[in-house]
């Protein structure tokens, strides 16, 4: 019992960051129908910027909450700008071109950021531990059954879960309840018709990128604190978040959240009960099976084409 509980907590905790990254994927996908391959690298840059800020403010000895606010705020701001720039320079000029073409520039941007980050001038190839702004602490500790059967939940687990749940809520509210969100949903159907409604489509798309990138930054900071910062850290989480977004039903905000958690849980449970060597493979098998049963993902709407 304690074992399963602990594994579920582990799974939710990882799943929460996948969910955060997946939310950004889904947003961008929603408006542009573009798999933003550079999204994982934006997440990485979020971690890198957070690292710089944390190093920078370390001598001042700020209180934890102040430091966290500056780190999160700074990383989100920087990534929002980065997201804007990527969209502006690499995607916007290709707005009316086939999606596959944009996909390739997205891959190009992703490679560019990875390789830039690997040079010593930007970050360097070596993983760096995050400065001790906030230490992992056990905040919940249950003993189940016996004194050795301990289940622990750390402050970082709670942070990642809380942030992703909260941000999903905010996002859902923005998209479903605000004027900007309505514009976003309109643009996701067609650019030209949306602009006939008086919507500035470019601005709406930029807004989406900035929002999605800021979310990726949040995930980046959480993982930087929990694990470390490294130039290729965006690769696997980026991929898994993409899988999560599709699994949940790409374009769907709650779908991204659920997808992220599901991927995190599958991965953890396979490692915990079968073999860690197969965890990614099993996660993908489950993914393919789910997709075969629900071709538009768990919460995705199947839009039958009307003839």
């Amino acid at each position: 019992m304690d074992y399963l509980t602990q594994q579920l907590i582990n799974g939710l905790s990882i799943g929460a960051t996948y969910a955060l990254i997946a939310l950004g994927y889904t947003m961008v996908y929603g408006v542009l129908r573009l798999i933003n391959f550079a999204h994982g690298e934006v997440y990485m840059m979020g971690a890198v910027v957070a690292y710089w800020i944390a190093i920078g403010i370390a001598p001042w000895g700020w209180p934890v909450w102040g430091a966290l606010a500056v780190i999160f705020g700074g990383a989100m701001g920087a990534c929002a700008v980065l997201g804007f720039a990527i969209e502006f320079f690499a995607y916007r000029p290709l707005r009316n071109k086939p999606r596959l073409v944009v996909l390739i520039t997205a891959i190009g941007v992703s490679l560019l950021l990875q390789n830039l980050a690997q040079t010593r001038y930007v970050f360097g190839p070596t993983p760096e531990a995050f400065p001790a702004v906030i230490e992992a602490k056990t905040v919940v500790r249950w003993t189940m059954g016996g004194p050795d059967n301990v289940v622990t939940v750390s402050n970082l687990d709670l942070l990642s879960l809380g942030l992703s749940l909260g941000l999903m809520g905010v996002l859902a509210w923005v998209v479903l309840r605000t004027r900007q969100g309505l514009a976003l949903r309109a643009v996701s159907y067609r650019f030209d018709t949306s602009s006939l409604m008086g919507i500035n489509t470019n601005r709406t798309i930029s807004f989406t990128f900035m929002l999605g990138s800021a979310l990726a930054a949040v995930a980046g900071v959480v993982d930087a604190i929990r694990y470390d910062v490294r130039p290729l850290m965006g690769l696997m989480p980026g991929l898994k978040a993409f899988v999560a977004a599709v699994l949940g039903g790409i374009g769907s905000i709650p779908g991204a959240f659920v997808g992220g958690l599901v991927i995190g849980l599958i991965e953890t449970l396979v490692k915990g009960y079968l073999s860690s060597a197969y965890s990614d493979a099993v996660a993908f098998v489950v993914l393919i099976v789910i997709l075969l049963v629900r071709p538009s993902g768990i919460l995705g709407r199947y839009e039958a084409e009307k003839l």
């Binding site: 602990q6 582990n10 010593r120 190839p125 070596t126 290729l232």
Partner: protein, 356 residues
């Protein structure tokens, strides 16, 4: 098959292939930096055989296929007389094939898989082999009286798998859990939770420093409070910087940063001066690979591949920064292993084990 003259009149050309980008860039860049430091030092003192040494370095993006291309270029375009590389055994095997084919001596700084030097008589290494180091770890575990050990291997990594195999061969106690992860993984709690459930006395973690600290940190969060121990892959400023979390953990190494030998002290000082960083294991091995290679060229008396090969094979008692290096008949380095204990971000020697 080899067309044209090799070696230039004014310089001695040595080729290097390394993972300067890609998944294991951190190792490639470290060993590259060590090598460059060695060459710089030798050139400052007038070079070798009256000529300056020039290293031509090629990136292989951490990919075996590209490693072959890079070595092919070094040998047939740049016409180097010797090759240094790679860190990863897979890529050393791939590149070594080309070196052997052209009879160009290759010296690997850090490829520990036994098969690497079996490619042919032109392939050498200056590091431990996996079976040796795994055996050292097993001996050490027994000395400590650890009856139940859990193993946590990086299955995407030859080095890690090699150490695990060596450990299993040598260890007499019970292996209570045999778990694995893959390089690039960030979260190990699932496996650690599983390991914890088996109640081990210690955990054998033959990984690289890029993962080790994260694993131990997460273990402590899960209240898995037994010692972790591993191989020279742990050696890095990162591991030391983690501080108290790593207290009570052990790893085997070629040297200790507190080693008073002048070769060690001088290397660390020079490295820090040049790169403003503390060297890690790969930097030391890269440095030593360069030094051993240049020493062999000097002893060969001419910059011809076959002569250099023979001189390399004859290396004996070379005072490297990573220990005293002797190349044996299988073209592997023999050097003693230290077992270091971590405490408060420092190491001290817990044991010394001679090659058997």
């Amino acid at each position: 098959k080899d067309k044209g003259q090799r070696g230039s009149s004014s310089e001695i050309l040595i080729g290097e292939f390394a993972s300067m980008t890609g998944a294991t860039a951190t190792f490639g860049q470290s060993s590259h930096e060590g090598l460059m430091l060695a060459v710089e030092q030798v050139n400052e003192k007038g070079g070798v055989l009256g000529k300056k040494v020039k290293v031509i370095s090629e990136d292989n993006r951490s990919d075996a296929n590209e490693a072959v291309t890079a070595v092919q270029k070094l040998i047939s375009r740049d016409r180097v007389v010797a090759v240094i590389g790679e860190v990863a055994s897979k890529r050393s095997l791939a590149g070594g094939g080309v070196c052997q084919q052209y009879k160009i001596p290759m010296l690997s700084p850090a490829s520990t898989n036994p098969t690497v030097t079996q490619v042919g008589d032109y392939i050498f290494r200056i590091c431990f082999t996996d079976d040796f180091q795994g055996g050292v770890c097993a001996k050490f575990a027994e000395k400590r009286g650890w009856k139940k050990v859990a193993i946590f291997t990086d299955v995407a990594n030859d080095y890690s798998k090699g150490l695990t195999a060596g450990f299993k061969d040598g260890y007499q106690g019970t292996i209570v859990a045999d778990e694995s992860f893959r390089e690039g993984d960030n979260d190990f709690k699932a496996q650690l939770t599983k390991i914890k459930a088996t109640g081990p006395d210690a955990v054998f973690l033959p990984g690289y420093y890029t993962d080790v600290v994260k694993v131990v940190k997460q273990a402590r969060q899960l209240e898995l409070n037994v010692p972790f121990f591993g191989g020279d892959g742990w050696d890095s400023p990162t591991t030391l910087a983690a501080g108290a979390v790593m207290d009570g953990c052990f790893y085997t190494d070629h040297y200790s940063p507190d080693d008073p030998r002048p070769a060690v002290r001088e290397f660390i000082a020079a490295y820090q001066k040049k790169y403003a960083r503390t060297p890690d294991a790969m930097a030391i091995l890269g440095y030593d690979a360069g030094m051993v290679m240049m020493d062999a060229i000097k002893r060969a008396g001419k910059s011809e591949p076959a002569a250099i090969r023979d001189a390399l094979a004859a290396t004996k008692g070379f005072p490297g920064a990573s220990g005293t290096i002797t190349i044996d008949e299988k073209r592997n380095a023999r050097k003693p292993a230290f077992v270091l204990e971590l405490k408060g971000g420092k190491t001290h020697i817990a044991d010394t084990i001679e090659p058997g």
